[in-house]
Structure formats: C-alpha cells, structure tokens
C-alpha cells in the first residue's frame, strides 16, 4: 500500500519544480527537505556568515555541527570539513535549496554545450560526452522556467547564438555606470554583449513585488521577495493544490527496496531541533522516488542505499554514481576606473559577453564573462584587492577609501571538462549526526578546464583595458575540484547504462520508478550558471513522471 504517488528528496531548483508539476497533475506528493523554511530575518545580513562569504558560518543550512564531509586534497591528504569551509562544496540546505539565497542568473546553455564531445573530441583523461538530448529538445522547458518562475532579460540580445521562441516576461535590470563603460569596451573589441538575465522581478510579477535594488542578492534573501526561487513560486503552487505535503528537517537515510530489489519508498529521520540527531526513523512508501538533493547529496543517498540486490548502491552497477563531479572555475579580473562606477544599485550584475563560450583557438569550451553582484566591503577586501597592495597600513585603508567605488569587476563560469576522478564516494569512518556515512570528495577538474580559465582570465583583463581601466589585475583558481554551488554531473544522463546513471528523463537505468532530477544529471555543465538548465530539465522530467503516474 503506497502512502504517496511520489516522494521527492530535496526542495531545491529541481525538486520544487517536480513537486509542483506532479501535485498540479493530481498526484499525491511527499516533498522532503533536510533544512528548514527560512524567513528573510532567519537568513539575515551577516557579512561574515552567508553563502557568499562563509568565514565563521553561513545562513542557509546545513547546521555547522553534525553534518561533516571528508575532503581529499590533490596530494591525497584527507580531512573532515564543516559546511562553511570552501572544501565542503556546500549548497544551501533549506526550503528552496540554493535558490533561496542565490544570485539568480538565468542563463540558458548554448546549443554547443550539449554536444561537447562531438564538437571537441574527448581529451585524454576526461569523460567529456554529449548529452542524450539537444538544446532544441530542452528549449520549450527553458521558456517555461523563465515564465513560471519569472525571469528578466533581453531576448533579442544573443538569440542568434542561443535561439528562443519567446522573450523574457520582464525587461532586464537597468544599466549602471559600470555597464556603460563595459558596453563601450565590448563594442570597441567587437564582442557580442547581453544584459544578464536574472530570475528577479524587475516589475511586479505573479503578485509579488519588483526588486527594490538593495545590495544583497547573492548569499542573502530578498527583502521584497522579488528574487524567484522555488520557495516562493512553484512550492507554494504545489502546496496550494492540497496534494503536496512538505516535511522539513527531514533527512533521507536510504531508498528502500523490496524482496525483489524494486524501489518501494524511503527511510527518513526528522529532527525538529536541527542539531540533536535524536529523531525517529520513519518509512514512507510511494510509486516513484525522485532524488533531488544536489549533485553531492544525491550521489551520497544512492551510494548509501546498498542492499543485497544493489551491493554498490542504487544505479551504481558500473561505478558511475558520484563520478564526474563538476562545477565551475571562476576566473576574476578587476580594473581601476578613473571615475566612480558604483552607484549602490543592486543587484549590480548587468552586462555579459558570450563571445568566448565556444570556438576559441586551442581551447576546449570557454565561458561567459559578466560584471558582478555588489560586494559588501569585507567581501571586496578579501576578494578584489590588487595582489601587490599591502593588506594593512595607510595604503590599504586609502585604497579601500578611494577605490571601492571605482573598481570594475568581471568574472564568469568556465565550462568544466569533466573527469571520472573528480568524484563523490561515501566514507563509513565519518558519520553525520544520525550515524549515516558522509560524502567524501576527491579529485580535481581536468587540466583543460584550467587552460580555458586562464584564457578567460586574459579576456577579462582585455575587456577592462578596452573599457578605460589603466590598472588591471586578475586571478584564476588553478587545478582544483570545482563543484560548490554549481555542483553537477554525478548521475549523468545518457543512452548507455555502462557510461551513464540515468536515461534522458532522469530515470535510473534498470529501475522503473527511481529518478534523479537535479544538477547531477548534467553531462556537462555549460559555461554559464546552471540553475535555469536544472529547472528546464526538472519541468521536462516532471511532465514525463506525471504521465507515468497517470
């Protein structure tokens, strides 16, 4: 006897959308979220403990204690890490997941992003592959994400590169003095440019207010609720049907199977206090289970769901689950303008170039470059100072005083060239507060990603010089494990069960009723912020699951 038609593990960008589509189709849904529903004041405005700068903690889950991971550095040394440390590769754990506190850049992937192996071949040591679907297949679902959640942008700007049938529902964010300078530079260089599309209301939309242009987008919650995550769009729609039950503070321990090895439901634990780890184990049964816990936790759950039928974990007959963990390296460039470019108007990110996403000589892939969200001064101090400036004394104070409003910022995500050694496994020797083995992260990105990042760093400098900056500096992160908030790839889609975990719908090979719907599915992660692609895939998979349940 099933308690639900569908159980969804995780209420982020993927799970929230699946919950909405299934509940509106009349199916009974249990939506489980390991974190809480966070109000604006719960998230707060702590400049040192947020999802953008997490020096002593963060603001959107998971709790700092009781939720460790193990990180293995490139030299093979492993250590236990806490959620606020960089090497934890955290994404927010709360209702809405990362979308509660994200910057909300709403990029579609480029058509070539779905055909990376065909376009570039497969570099040695990499697992570069084509997606089982094309941009054209996903295009209607991108449009749906833009309209149902609410995106602002200029649909005509780069439609020759990334075709679209319909404009954004809202106009792009307004230009700033930095936009004007950078537009002039891009024009001089002959580069294509676009306003940055954002899942932020630039005017009233679906009954919620417009952006009030505060300075706190990425890492924080929105004071006017104008930033569109799943927590204020599709999840309320799901709940309004009466068909969806949202259970917060619920960690799923394992996916259960019956005596024939078929999926029957899940076992989970509820912790109302958030830290104690003393909740009761509960089971729920359903016709389908959908795993939407993010690329690290989804892989962990599949790997922890071992049984005599599935001794290596679910979907892991060929040792693919958890491999190809990827995200984005972010090259950064800064330039000193002779005039003030900061006008205090958020979000701050306004203009991008997609000139270098593909077709760069000697480079595999590439990426988008854009200006940046407004940085709080301490974030600026840590991130943006010239390398040759002393970190203390009068010179440092003078630089902060004279130049905080004159530094132009460029950064962007570089297409990650995946490899099987960048991966999630589970570590039996380290347990979370419930006693469940934690995720162990190891490996790095491929060296081809670093070459592309270096190329993009140079393009950032070039753009700033052309935009009138005489003094320019920059950085790129080198050969590290990418992942973090753009984590993806650990349950990649594909046609061949030996090289992929799911089919094109997110259905785990060899199972009729087990799905993965989140960034884990991404075969490659584009040279763009990935959230709109996660959302588009979620709409497409959810339609398919609704048909199966009918």
């Amino acid at each position: 006897m099933n308690d639900y038609d569908a159980i969804i593990v995780g209420s982020g960008a993927g799970g929230g959308i699946v919950a909405c589509v299934l509940a509106e189709a009349g199916h009974r849904v249990l939506l489980l979220e390991r974190g809480s529903a966070l109000s604006f004041s719960d998230v707060g405005r702590d400049h040192l403990r947020n999802q953008r700068l997490s020096i002593y903690g963060h603001n959107a889950g998971p709790e700092i204690t009781g939720n460790p991971r193990v990180f293995v550095d490139p030299h093979g040394r492993s250590r236990v890490v806490s959620p606020h440390e960089l090497d934890y590769h955290n994404n927010a754990a709360c209702v809405g997941g990362g979308t509660r506190v994200y910057g909300a850049q709403a990029w579609r992937f480029h058509p070539d992003d779905f055909q990376m192996a065909t376009k570039y071949g497969v570099p040695d040591g990499s697992s570069l592959a084509d997606w089982p679907i094309t941009y054209k297949t996903l295009e209607p679902f991108y449009e749906r994400a833009e309209w149902e959640l609410g995106a602002a942008g200029d649909g005509s700007a780069i439609s020759d590169q990334i075709p679209r049938q319909r404009n954004y529902p809202m106009p792009a964010v307004p230009a700033s003095p930095q936009t004007e300078a950078l537009a002039k530079g891009a024009k001089q260089l002959g580069w294509v440019m676009s306003p940055v599309p954002l899942l932020i209301n630039t005017e009233e939309y679906q009954g919620r207010a417009a952006c009030v242009q505060c300075k706190y987008c990425v890492g924080f919650a929105c004071p006017s609720d104008a930033k569109n995550g799943t927590q204020n769009t599709v999840i309320p729609r799901a709940l309004a049907t009466g068909n969806c039950e949202l259970q917060t503070n619920a960690l799923v321990e394992r996916i259960d199977v019956d005596e024939r090895g078929s999926i029957t439901g899940i076992t989970y634990l509820i912790d109302a206090s958030g830290t104690s780890g003393t909740g009761q184990r509960q089971a729920a049964r359903s016709r389908v289970v959908i795993v939407s816990a993010g690329a690290i936790e989804s892989a962990r759950l599949l790997l922890n769901s071992r049984s005599s039928f599935h001794p290596r974990g679910l979907g892991n007959e060929y040792d693919i689950v958890g491999r190809n963990l990827q995200g984005h390296l972010y090259p950064r460039a800064y330039g000193l303008s002779s005039t003030k470019v900061f006008n205090g108007v958020g979000p701050g990110v306004t203009i991008a170039t997609t000139q270098f996403n593909h077709d760069n000589t000697g480079i595999i892939g590439g990426g988008m470059l854009a200006d940046d969200f407004i940085k709080p001064p301490i974030d600026f101090w840590y991130d943006s100072l010239p390398p040759d400036l002393s970190r203390w004394g009068s010179a440092n104070k003078k630089f902060m005083r004279d130049n905080f409003t004159r530094v132009m910022h460029i950064r962007g995500p570089v297409q990650d060239i995946p490899n099987p050694e960048g991966r999630v496994t589970v570590e039996s020797d380290v347990r979370d507060k419930w006693g469940i083995p934690v995720a162990r992260l190891s490996g790095t990105t491929h060296s081809a990603t670093v070459e592309a990042a270096e190329f993009m760093r140079e393009r950032g400098e070039e753009w700033l010089r052309a935009s009138g900056c005489e003094r320019v500096w920059s950085a790129q992160p080198g050969l590290i494990l990418s992942g973090r908030q753009h984590q993806a790839g650990t349950c990649r889609m594909g046609k061949d069960p030996k090289t992929s975990v799911t089919d094109e719908w997110g259905r785990v090979h060899a199972h009729d009723n087990l799905f993965v719907v989140d960034g884990s599915l991404h075969v490659t992660n584009g040279g763009f912020n990935p959230v709109l692609t996660i959302m588009a895939l979620a709409f497409r998979s959810a339609d398919h699951i609704a048909r199966i349940l009918r």
């Binding site: 002593y56 903690g57 205090g344 709080p376 101090w381 902060m400 005083r401």
Partner: protein, 142 residues
C-alpha cells in the same frame, strides 16, 4: 565586552596594533571603530579555540618591541611600530616566538579587517564608519 579579552592580553598593546593596521585619519582608525570589541566577541565565540594562540601573538608583539626598541609596542613611534609589524609579517622576528609569527599575523590582519569592514552588528564598524568611507553606504545607518 572587552573585559574578558583584557584579562588575557594588554588592551593598550592590542589598541596600538590594530590602529597601526588601520590607522585613524579623517575616518576612524580600527580602535575607534570598535575593532577591539569585535575581536573580544570573536575570540569568545567562533574563534574561542584560537584565543590562546591570538593572545600569545599579542604578547609576542610586546616582547619583540621590547627586544628591538626597549619598550612596549604602544610606547613606540609609528615608524618603529611599522617596522615591528613588517618583521612579523615577513617572519623575520628577533625574539623567541612560541607560535608561528606569519600565521598569527595573517589572522591578526584578517580579523582586524573583518571588524572594520563587516556589519556593525558584529561589534566593529561603529556607526558604519567604513561603509561611509568606502561609499558602500551614502550615510551612516541610524
């Protein structure tokens, strides 16, 4: 708030050190902006396990000053103070340090900047002084 930190280290020294890192001019220096309050809170909360390490570093600054210039750090001229901090930053210390001087110095510089530039709710950046100075805010928040 400062009482318990003073108990562990000389406030006069700490004040002189943070003011050397972020000196007063027509905008407040680190001490006036509340950085010592920020540090006092930080080393009783998130950084409590580093408190002994941090106070050992502050003590070592005075030892370094006494060895090189015959007086506690707070009594030295600004140029002498700068020389001392530069020596610690580069690891070129003359006295015996029980902790790694460069690791301490990085912690000192980072936490001082945090106190000066982060939100006033943390105990530092009194009157949003650094936000007005940088132009992040047009005026102090009431």
């Amino acid at each position: 708030m400062q009482a318990r930190l003073i108990h562990l280290m000389d406030l006069k020294t700490l004040r002189a050190v943070v003011d050397c890192l972020i000196p007063p001019d027509d905008f407040a220096g680190a001490y006036e902006a509340g950085v010592c309050d920020y540090l006092a809170r930080l080393f009783q909360t998130d950084m409590v396990e580093q408190r002994d390490f941090f106070s050992a570093g502050i003590e070592a600054i005075d030892a370094e000053a006494t060895l090189r210039f015959n007086g506690p750090f707070a009594a030295l001229t600004p140029d002498q103070q700068t020389l001392i901090l530069q020596a610690i930053e580069s690891g070129d210390v003359a006295s015996a340090w029980v902790i790694p001087p460069q690791r301490f110095f990085e912690m000192l510089v980072h936490t001082t900047a945090e106190g000066y530039y982060s939100d006033p709710q943390q105990g530092g950046n009194r009157g949003s002084t650094s936000w007005v100075m940088t132009g992040f805010e047009e005026r102090a928040e009431s």
